[in-house]
Symmetry: C2
Subunit: 202 residues, 2 copies
């Protein structure tokens, strides 16, 4: 049985979303997104930095949402939500899958730190402004690729689980401008998926 | 023919390293790591944010070093440098592959920005100190996993191309403490590989 160590408003939501889309059974260890849970001895024994998601599959323990998504697709599906290696969609799938942590999440993390996690007296307006500019620039190519498409590579794929989740977060922090019409429609499309709703309401 | 758009001291070095380890032929478009090249119209036509690496494979154009590594392994090898899906090493391979951009590169990027890219009057000591603390914490689990092993999953793999490159960078910026003995030996082991030397001297 798969066990997902989870906290709301984190990358762990991606894994709930994926597991629900695939119809896989799993146990959920729901923690609060708070040091009392994430920095507890029990959770630090799972991940020394107290991060989520962590996936247990029998004796196997894994960190990193991108790795966990790849693992679940490879071990628990027959090619679902991912183009075959010889598909013309394969390169773009990989690119947008990795664009999530490579380009969008670093400024998104800074914005979370500088608005929610740090106390007001330690927040830096310059750091926040710089991250907002970076994020705005990183979102533009996503908006462009979505023109005429429902999802990043056309049909819904695991690239949407990764990058779509980041776009949803970016939108929630008010960083998806009115002019990014394709991206705004994409976020609405994601929010309308029942499995995504389940993930963000867990 | 594969064409790699490259600049030194960037993630593009990972792709040179991988191509050399695999013995694949490729053309190299070597640019300077400077806005005159990376933010030029010619390069912005390849990547709207002016980033490297960019890989061209005929009509296919791809960004993101992690995506490019996965693409080359899948399309140009018969399973080299990556454990099979049913291998007991597969989960750890994925985890360390993704740990690179998920945990190590965000603080590493901040350190580069706050020491090299920003002019001194715009550098923030608080941002630098915070990133250095984060990076130090992120490196500890890598040091731990390397105990008794030459590479992240034992034999050399593409996870080393990703995360090993980040460890090399971290060490160059003085962020690998004396106490991280396994990690220091690992960086030396990487530096001794001829294909890595070729990558960082390109």
């Amino acid at each position: 049985m798969l066990t997902l160590h989870f906290a709301p408003n984190s990358r762990a939501g991606r894994i709930v979303w994926l597991l629900e889309e695939l119809g896989l059974e799993y146990d959920l260890n729901r923690m609060d997104f708070h040091p009392k849970d994430l920095k507890s001895d029990a959770h630090r024994a799972r991940h020394p930095l107290g991060r989520v998601p962590v996936l247990d599959d029998g004796d196997i323990r894994m960190w990193e949402s991108g790795a966990i998504v790849e693992y679940i697709l490879a071990r628990y599906t027959d090619g679902a939500l991912k183009p075959a290696v010889d598909s013309p969609l394969f390169p773009q799938y990989l690119q947008w899958f990795h664009y999530c942590e490579g380009m969008v999440m670093p400024p998104m993390n800074t914005i979370v730190v500088q608005t929610i996690l740090l106390p007001p007296e330690r927040q830096s307006k310059e750091a926040l402004d710089q991250a907002t500019r970076l994020l705005t620039r990183a979102l533009a190519p996503i908006n462009e690729t979505l023109e005429g498409k429902d999802y990043l590579i056309g049909d819904f794929s695991a690239a949407d689980v990764m990058l779509g989740h980041s776009c949803f977060m970016s939108n929630r922090f008010g960083c998806v401008g009115e002019e990014l019409t394709h991206l705004r429609a994409y976020v609405e499309r994601i929010e309308a998926r029942p499995c995504f709703q389940k993930a963000i309401n867990t």
